[in-house]
């Protein structure tokens, strides 16, 4: 029966960074993404009784976040007035030409794919980080993602450098194993 239970008290530790990555990729703004994550948690809490346990907690929260992202775009669109539909040949000229042929994406370009894949990679890494023990994930993301210097981290957490490197070592070893399973 316990499978239907949500654990909101662990949400921030387990999913905040994962949801945050997902949101930043979609709204390209750190501040807005942060607010969306916060709203997602609140909304999740409010509708917790509707959680049927058919999906994992994280999947369920991502579904809520998706709606929040859509709502965000609706909101900024209504601020601007009605959505504009441009029917010009291209945005900056009225030149004539073969519409379709010239507007299709370059089939040789794999850049767009790369971005998508990198985003998935980012989420896979976040998912692995969230499986680490709290202290290790904290040290690892401070060091690797936020790029804080060794000295500052030691000061903030009250540990010595050799402690830090041992934790980094454990975190990295665990991540290698986790990514080995989930990415390659």
């Amino acid at each position: 029966m316990e499978t239907h239970q949500l654990h909101p008290e662990n949400w921030v530790d387990l999913y905040a960074d994962y949801l945050f990555n997902y949101a930043v990729a979609r709204v390209s703004d750190v501040e807005i993404a942060k607010d969306l994550v916060q709203e997602t948690f609140f909304a999740g809490l409010k509708s917790a009784k509707n959680y049927k346990g058919t999906a994992a907690e994280r999947t369920w929260l991502i579904a809520i976040l998706k709606r929040k992202v859509i709502d965000h775009y609706r909101k900024i669109n209504s601020k601007k007035g009605k959505a504009e539909v441009r029917m010009n040949y291209s945005s900056n000229s009225n030149a004539e030409g073969d519409w379709l042929e010239e507007q299709v994406a370059d089939p040789l370009s794999i850049l767009a794919n790369d971005n998508l894949e990198n985003e998935e990679l980012g989420l896979a890494i976040q998912a692995c980080i969230s499986k680490l023990p709290k202290k290790q994930s904290l040290v690892f993301s401070m060091k690797t993602i936020q790029g804080i210097s060794t000295e500052d981290i030691c000061k903030e957490l009250g540990i010595n450098p050799s402690n830090l490197w041992v934790m980094i070592h454990r975190a990295r070893t665990a991540l290698m194993g986790c990514l080995n399973q989930n990415w390659y």
Binding site: P8, E9, W11, V12, D13, A16, D17, F20, N21, V24, A25, V30, A33, K34, V37, Q38, F41, F42, L45, N118, E119, L121, G122, I125, Q126, L138, S141, M142, K143, T144, I145, Q146, T150, S162, W165, V166, I168, H169, R172, L175, M176, L179, W183
Partner: protein, 75 residues
């Protein structure tokens, strides 16, 4: 001569460009005869490359604490 544990630590430091020149030489020499550390170094470098490639963001700890408190209030 250094132990594998030392080698691993130096290898990790190297991922953050914090290994000294002397340490790098020690690691290099160790890798010549130690297969395990050789493999570990390669995998470790790969992990660094993956982390660089992916757009990773994380919320600062302060923000998380604030979120937790606000969430706790509503539970």
């Amino acid at each position: 001569m250094i132990s594998c544990d030392d080698a691993a630590i130096i290898c990790n430091k190297k991922q953050y460009k914090e290994a000294t020149f002397l340490e790098k030489i020690k690691l290099f020499l160790h890798r010549v005869y130690c297969d395990t550390c050789s493999k570990f170094s390669k995998k470790n470098a790969k992990l660094t490359a993956l982390c660089d490639k992916a757009p990773l963001y994380s919320l600062p700890e302060k923000e998380k604490v604030r979120m937790k408190i606000e969430l706790q209030d509503k539970i």
